[in-house]
């Protein structure tokens, strides 16, 4: 990778408050094209909020966020257009409850990209096959297991051909036996070169898939390095405590 390449995501001195609560403190983070960055840290450390500022689901107080070289638009058509280039997968899946699995995946390409129905349907079936839930295409979300729903959610994001994907604790709401199937799909995506920002508690997954691990605590990024460095030699006391606390389980 050449050094001059524009980063996919660039955050500079981002600050964010929820009322009196200072959630993001001087966050600066760069994600290169094709890079997989895993954000870990104790709950309440601001990692989900950070993830959600990247497509402006959370507006920021100050600082700057650029996506693919351009600053995030604040509102309107431009913001919607930008969001359509960034896939997002949520902890609670958020599939459209009143639509079938197939319709969930077809909706945004038709509504946002104005794809013809036939084309959207074919692409959607292709994606559902890729994540292994094509046999469920006619069902509604409530009829699927959590793992299946989350894989559909990933397919729904991919249907927009995003330049990057954000994962906000994608496996935290899943039964243990379903976590693997979702992580497998994500691993596959990473291998194909998707730019990914992943908030997760799955340390083995982070070790295996991440190019970089970012450790956050109390709204700050305390460490930013390769998984090898981070897991073997955490530099800060807080990171060591955190890693020890999850090892006990």
């Amino acid at each position: 990778m050449s050094m001059s390449q524009t980063p996919m995501i660039e955050m500079r001195n981002v600050e964010k408050h929820f009322g009196d609560h200072h959630v993001l403190k001087g966050i600066s983070l760069t994600v290169k094209k094709g890079e997989v960055v895993v954000i870990i840290g104790p709950s309440g450390s601001g990692k989900s909020t950070l993830c959600r500022t990247i497509n402006r689901l959370e507006p920021i107080d100050s600082g700057e966020i650029c996506f693919d070289g351009k600053p995030l638009p604040e509102e309107g058509r431009a913001l919607a257009a930008l969001r359509s280039q960034i896939g997002m997968v949520f902890q609670s899946f958020n599939l459209f409850a009143h639509k079938t699995i197939l319709e969930n995946v077809m909706l945004a390409p038709m509504d946002v990209l104005h794809k013809p129905q036939k084309e959207a349907r074919e692409a959607a079936m292709e994606l559902l096959k890729r994540v292994g839930v094509d046999s469920q295409a006619g069902k509604v979300p409530a009829q699927l297991s959590g793992g299946q729903q989350q894989r559909v959610a990933i397919a729904r994001s991919l249907a927009m051909n995003p330049k990057a994907m954000l994962f906000d604790e994608p496996t935290s709401a899943l039964d243990p036996e379903m976590i693997g199937e979702v992580l497998d799909v994500m691993t596959e995506l990473a291998k194909e070169g998707m730019t990914m920002v992943i908030v997760t508690h799955e340390m083995n997954f982070a070790r295996r898939v991440a190019d970089r691990v970012v450790f956050m605590d109390e709204g700050r990024i305390l460490e930013d390095g390769t998984p090898e460095e981070f897991f073997a030699h955490p530099k800060t006391e807080r990171a060591r405590d955190f890693l020890n606390s999850i090892k006990d389980h």
Binding site: R77, L95, A97, V112
Partner: protein
């Protein structure tokens, strides 16, 4: 599935044991006896007052009576259906205005909603019947009843719809926005369809109220069921028998509406919706 047969009673109380079942049986028998006694008393009183005389009932054997009442029923249904549609349309826009970003729109729509909910329907009827003509507004009798009934219902409809919108999980909107959908699209394609499903039973209940409000048609001599019944009463001097009959008719229609509401609610649950 087990959930399908579950009633409110099952949720509120434990399954009755042998002792409780005996108590329930005794109480049921006693209340049935009491009910039969009351009914007997009422009929006896009717007989004493001469209300069971042939002259109060014979005209129900005539086809013309029924076609006259049928016309009235048709008038009632017309007013109720058109009022229902108008109230829904107005309620929808009031709801959208109330949840909009603009403070002025919010204040205005909140004001209209509270006003229409707070004022009795009869006052709106009087306005269209008595005040509007003085202002030079000439309306067909149909609109003199339909407009006040719709206005009276639209605020409630707006609030019912708003409660539905609030019941849709926040994640639905976020997911749609994250895919690049615009606010308007998100509302019409994601939020409102789900909200609507949730509130169909409440909307049908409101339709029952609309139907009952149509009886104010007698104030302006619009030929609805109530008005035609009044004509029959003055023709045959048979107040009790006619009122009894149309009470039963109103009751049947509203019972059917409530049944429809229940059926829709059950179907909605089976289809899943939010988990």
């Amino acid at each position: 599935m087990r959930g399908a047969g579950l009633t409110v009673r099952d949720v509120l109380y434990e399954a009755p044991g042998a002792g409780t079942r005996k108590k329930i049986a005794v109480a049921t028998a006693a209340s049935l006896l009491l009910l039969a006694l009351l009914l007997g008393l009422v009929i006896r009183q009717f007989a004493i007052a001469g209300q069971l005389d042939r002259k109060y009932w014979f005209f129900f054997a005539r086809g013309t009576t029924w076609s006259f009442l049928g016309k009235g029923l048709l008038g009632t249904v017309e007013v109720a259906v058109v009022s229902g549609i108008l109230a829904f349309a107005a309620g929808f826009f009031l709801m959208v205005g109330r949840i909009s970003q603009s403070r002025i729109s919010r204040a205005l729509c909140t004001g209209i909603i509270e006003f229409t909910r707070g004022v009795p329907t009869l006052l709106f009827v009087y306005f269209f019947f008595l005040v509007a003509p003085q202002l030079g507004i000439r309306l067909h009798a149909f609109w003199k009843i339909t407009l006040p009934v719709s206005i009276s219902a639209c605020g409630v409809v707006a609030e019912v719809l708003r409660s539905g919108v609030n019941a849709v999980p926040k994640g639905q909107r976020e997911a749609a926005l994250s895919l690049g959908m615009r606010e308007g699209s998100v509302f019409l394609k994601i939020i409102f369809p789900q909200a609507f499903r949730v509130v169909i039973p409440a909307l049908l209940s409101e339709l029952v109220i609309v139907l009952k409000d149509t009886t104010f048609a007698y104030v302006i001599n619009f030929p609805d069921l109530m008005q035609n019944a009044s004509v029959l009463i003055s023709n045959y001097d048979a107040m009790l028998s006619v009122y009894l009959l149309i009470a039963v008719i109103y009751c049947i229609i509203n019972y059917l509406l409530n049944k429809a509401a229940e059926a829709v609610a059950v179907r909605g649950k089976e289809k899943g919706g939010a988990k």
